[in-house]
Each structure stands twice: as structure tokens, then as C-alpha cells.
């Protein structure tokens, strides 16, 4: 039994040293090169006195970034990958919380980290990766590592405006890697086309299975996801046969007509998750690729990526919903109404998860950890944690788990999990904005921000301000100024009214009228 994710790397480097592991299409690293670079970086960090602490990896997506992640683990630390396009303010908030002592950067990213000041040393990737590995030191570090030690911390949206860091350990990552690989049938012939950024847990689907099976992953350049034919040409050029993408990326291909113009030729496995895949789009994919296996994945970052999977084998009408399916091996789902298990078919409850795939909780935040990771109410005989997802589910007549809704206002957009509170807090940081409310327009897949501000406040000023505070995926697609926010009788923001109305009466000249015309579903029809 594996107790350290690096065992995957050791075995791959020994069995297939010359095979390419990760490539961006032009530049790649073989398993031996990846192993060598990781050990060099591990030695470099350990020799600087770093141990059992977060090390930030602030690099653009590349095979070298993957080596840096494994290098941090080799050095006995855990990696904190940050998007190299993260606005400064957000990086500051994360650093304020984490107070990291080291960051690995490249030339283009080091100035930002250096300018933050504080006690964070900025190390150049190339320098670290060319350190002579110290085998004895690395072996000593490995000898002291447990499978309950952290591997990484990834930051996800927080409702108070401050991002939350989810801490995952070796045990949960190994459990997830094994369960996902088994369910989706990865093997030595697998050629992954990676879409997920390396700073979210979604990239685990390619990262560790690539090592486990000595497979290969192409890190697809982000820009290709704007140009559907270029994207399918890339898939064909590299004979990519397995993709685990957000539905938005798949819809980009099907909705804009690329399936007919330039169909992907080698795909045998298509998995998707992170948000609902419009059934009409999924049906277009299935019609185009009848031999391909399609999987719907579901799971929270707090349970190390994905927890459940449904293979799409039967037909679904355009207006039917896709099941979340069944939990992975060694994971269980409880449907709870408070502490009471929901058993009647059709009855709804909160989806709760238990098993070795549970992460350790939120970095430096015992309060929120305690609220989400709670004692399993079905036993009081011994301590056992479950994770309460905040997702409401039910079982269908076939016994398959169905996702129904969110318990709170959390938004899922393009596979990203977004707390409206984070966008609202950012908006209210601008002088003049006195209230803000963010809702999701599901039909048009748009984030809509309502804000109260004087008429003089320019929409462009708010847009620029938000760009400076928030990552691109959190920027609202429509912003509407109101003179005052609607309130419920007890004085709370009337989120439900704003959501149901998106109501025209309150719109002003400043509003982005007609923005709701941008409808991805319409592109499809």
C-alpha cells in the first residue's frame, strides 16, 4: 500500500525513464527528467531549512510547474499552487493568511511576489531545479513522512471575501487517484488532454494517474479553449484519447459547430464535472462519438476532487437531468436532513461524504473547518468525520444520486466554485458602492451583480476595480446599478427577488441592458 504520492513518481521513473510524462505540445519532461527536477527542488528547499510548511508555486502552466509541485513534496513540504494571473489583492490576502516562507517563481512572476515584502523568500525555478540532489537527505525526509501529512493546499472562494485553503494529505490523494483511475479505466495507453488549471484540485485527475500508469498528459494552452477548431485539431494532432474537462470547455466545441467541422478522432473517454452539462450539448457529443465513454463526475474540493461518478450509457431527453451516480470505491455518501438520514425515494437531503478521500479541512480556520467537517450523526460510539457539502440531493427511482440545488447562494461557473459574498465584498471596497448582491442567471450561465451606488459612479470604474480584485472567472457578466437594494421585511438583502426578477423596473441607463441576450444555449440551436 502506498503511503506517499512520490511512490508513483519513483516507480514511473524506474519503469519508463525515457517516456514523456508532461508536455505542452512543444516542450516536455520525461519521467526521468521530472524525477530529477523534483529531487533537485526538494534538496534545494530542505537545505534552506524548510520543512512541513507551505511552499507557494507561482508559475504559468507548464511541465516545469508540475516538477515544482512534486519538488515541494520531495522537500518535505506541501505545495500551494497559485494562478500566475491572480490579481495582486487576492495574492496579498492569501499571503496574509498563509505567511509562506518560500515561493518558487519564474522570471515573469517573481516581481509580484518580491513586491509583497514580508518574510517570503522568492526562489527561481531554474536555480532550484539545477541543484545537485542529496539522496541521503531526501531519503531521511521520506522516512519521516506519513500518509496523514499534507500534500497541497488549494485556495477556493470564501463567502467573507477571504479565500479558504483546503488542505489535502497523501492518504486522500492516493485514495482519490486509485478510485478515479479504476472508475474511468485509465491505463498505459491513456493520453490525457488537460484543461484544468494547475492551481485547482481538478488537475489531480491527470497529475497522479499519469505517474501511476506511465501515461502522458498534454497541458493544453489556455488560449485554445477560445477557438474550437484549433482545439480539436490539437486533440487530433497529439492523439489525445482521454479528457476530463469542465462542461463549458466541451460546450465550446459542440455549441460552435466544431464537432461537425473537425471532429475529435481519438477520444475514448470524456469525463466532465464541476457544473451541469447542458443535456442538448451532451447529446451532440454522444451522437458524434458513439464509441466514446462519457462520465459525469461530482465532488467537492473538500473530498479531494471528485467523489461520485455516473457513466452515461442510457439515452436522456434534452430536458432530463443527469444523475450524479454512485460514490467511488472507498467513499460513501449520506443524505441527511440535519442529523436525520433521508431514506424515502424522492425526499431531499444534504449530500454528505465520508471516507479516506476527505481532506483535513481549511488552513488556519478551525471554525469553518468545524462547521463543515462534523461528526457522523449516525454513530456516537467513535469519532468519525463527514464533510457536509451544502449541496442538496435526492435518489431517483433507480437509486442513483441526483443533484438538486445548493443550500446557500454558492455559484458554480465554468467549473469554478464562487461564493457571491466574495464578489460582493470586492464591489463594496470601491468608494460609492454602498450595497451589492450577486446572483447567478442559470439559464444564460451569467454572474449578475446588482449594486447600489450614486448615478455618477461609472460602470467602467467598477469593472476595472473588480478586475483588480478578483480572478477572471469571478468577474460578473452583467452589472446593474440600483438606487437602493430591495430588502426583505427583516432587513436582509432580498436575494430571491433579485434572482427571480432580474427585474427590468429597477434598471437604469447605466445598466447593461440586453446583456442577457448572450446565450450559449442559443448558439447551439
Amino acid at each position: 500500500m502506498k503511503i506517499n504520492v512520490l511512490e508513483y513518481l519513483d516507480e514511473a521513473a524506474a519503469a519508463a525513464p525515457g517516456k514523456t510524462a508532461f508536455s505542452d505540445g512543444a516542450d516536455g519532461l520525461t519521467f526521468a527528467q521530472l524525477y530529477g527536477a523534483a529531487r533537485s527542488i526538494g534538496t534545494f528547499l530542505a537545505k534552506r531549512g524548510l520543512s512541513r510548511e507551505p511552499v507557494v508555486v507561482f508559475m504559468p502552466k507548464s511541465p516545469q510547474t508540475v516538477a515544482a509541485l512534486f519538488g515541494v513534496v520531495c522537500g518535505g513540504c506541501y505545495y500551494v499552487p497559485l494562478d500566475d494571473e491572480t490579481p495582486r489583492l487576492r495574492v496579498e490576502m492569501i499571503f496574509e493568511k498563509l505567511k509562506p516562507r518560500a515561493a518558487i517563481c519564474v522570471r515573469e512572476t517573481r516581481d509580484m511576489i518580491k513586491s509583497l515584502g514580508g518574510g517570503c523568500a522568492v526562489y527561481d525555478y531554474e536555480r532550484a531545479a539545477h541543484t545537485k540532489p542529496d539522496g541521503e537527505l531526501l531519503e531521511w525526509i521520506r522516512g519521516g513522512a506519513l500518509d496523514t501529512d499534507p500534500v497541497y493546499t488549494v485556495f477556493t472562494s470564501g463567502s467573507t471575501g477571504v479565500p479558504k485553503g483546503v488542505v489535502a494529505n497523501h492518504r486522500s490523494v492516493i485514495d482519490y487517484t486509485e478510485a478515479l483511475s479504476g472508475a474511468l479505466g485509465f491505463d498505459g495507453e491513456t493520453v490525457f488532454g488537460n484543461q484544468a488549471p494547475l492551481y485547482v484540485d481538478a488537475c489531480l485527475k491527470e497529475l497522479y494517474p499519469t505517474l501511476k500508469y506511465r501515461a502522458v498528459t498534454y497541458l493544453i494552452p489556455k488560449k485554445l479553449f477560445m477557438f474550437p477548431i484549433k482545439l480539436t485539431e490539437y486533440l487530433n494532432e497529439h492523439k489525445i484519447n482521454t479528457i476530463c474537462w469542465v462542461p463549458g470547455a466541451l460546450t465550446m466545441i459542440s455549441g460552435l459547430g466544431a464537432l461537425e467541422k473537425k471532429p475529435p478522432l481519438h477520444l475514448r473517454t470524456v469525463a466532465f464535472g464541476g457544473e451541469v452539462f447542458p443535456m442538448r450539448q451532451l447529446n451532440m457529443w454522444r451522437a458524434c462519438l458513439p464509441e466514446t465513454r462519457f462520465f459525469n463526475l461530482y465532488g467537492p474540493t473538500e473530498a479531494t476532487g471528485m467523489s461520485c461518478c455516473f457513466e452515461v450509457t442510457r439515452d436522456f431527453a434534452h430536458d432530463e437531468a443527469l444523475p450524479v451516480g454512485k460514490p467511488f470505491r472507498n467513499t460513501a455518501v449520506l443524505l441527511l436532513d440535519g442529523d436525520r438520514p433521508v431514506t424515502a425515494p424522492g425526499e431531499t437531503g444534504e449530500i454528505c461524504i465520508r471516507g479516506a478521500s476527505l481532506t483535513m479541512g481549511y488552513w488556519g480556520d478551525p471554525e469553518r473547518t468545524g462547521a463543515a467537517f462534523t461528526q457522523n450523526p449516525l454513530t456516537s460510539a467513535y469519532p468519525e468525520l463527514i464533510y457536509r457539502t451544502g449541496d442538496i440531493g435526492r435518489y431517483n427511482e433507480r437509486g442513483e444520486l441526483m443533484f438538486v440545488s445548493r443550500r446557500d447562494g454558492q455559484i458554480k461557473h465554468m467549473g469554478h466554485r464562487i461564493e457571491p459574498g466574495e464578489i460582493e465584498t470586492a464591489a463594496m471596497r470601491l468608494d460609492g458602492v454602498t450595497a451589492a448582491c450577486c446572483v447567478y442567471d442559470e439559464a444564460h450561465r451569467k454572474i449578475v451583480l446588482y449594486y447600489a451606488a450614486p448615478e455618477e459612479l461609472k460602470l467602467s470604474a467598477l469593472a476595472s476595480h473588480l478586475r483588480a480584485c478578483l480572478p477572471g472567472y469571478m468577474i460578473p457578466h452583467a452589472m446593474t446599478r440600483l438606487d437602493a437594494m430591495p430588502r426583505t421585511p427583516n432587513g436582509k438583502l432580498d436575494r430571491a427577488l433579485l434572482k427571480s426578477g432580474l427585474n427590468n423596473d429597477h434598471r437604469t441607463e447605466d445598466a447593461v441592458n440586453g446583456r442577457t441576450a448572450g446565450d450559449t444555449a442559443r448558439v447551439a440551436t
Partner: protein, 74 residues
């Protein structure tokens, strides 16, 4: 052209679309913007942008995009 600029400004109020020549190369637009632009062009100009026209050259500037719309209208 004014109509097109209106669409673009609606999407990204903070960008000066009149002068920007590298909307793709500089990473100003993302994939969601592209999908939205195509949908709105379809709506306003009653033309449909085919997959083969969704290439960086046609989206780098408002002018290039307008040239595409004119081609499609012909």
C-alpha cells in the same frame, strides 16, 4: 460599427475597444467573452459565425471583428 462597439462595451465596460489591437494576444478576452460575442452578433446582425471563423485573427480588434460581420452579411 457603433452597434458592434456597443456589444463589446456591454461585455467589458473597462476596455477601449476603439483602439485595442491585441484583444486575444494580450489575453483581454476569455473564452466566455468569445461565446458571448458570437451569441450577441447572431442576435443583433442576424448572422451566424461558423466554427471556421472563430480564429484569433478575427477577434483581436473591433475592426477585425467588424470586417468578419461584413463578410458574413454579404
Amino acid at each position: 460599427m457603433e452597434e458592434l462597439l456597443g456589444i463589446l462595451r456591454g461585455l467589458r465596460p473597462e476596455i477601449d475597444f476603439g483602439t485595442h489591437e491585441a484583444l486575444i494576444d494580450d489575453g483581454v478576452l476569455d473564452s466566455f467573452d468569445i461565446v458571448s460575442i458570437i451569441a450577441e452578433i447572431a442576435d443583433v446582425f442576424d448572422v451566424s459565425v461558423g466554427a471556421e471563423d472563430i480564429v484569433p485573427e478575427n477577434f483581436n480588434s473591433a475592426r477585425a471583428l467588424y470586417a468578419l460581420v461584413e463578410r458574413l452579411l454579404d
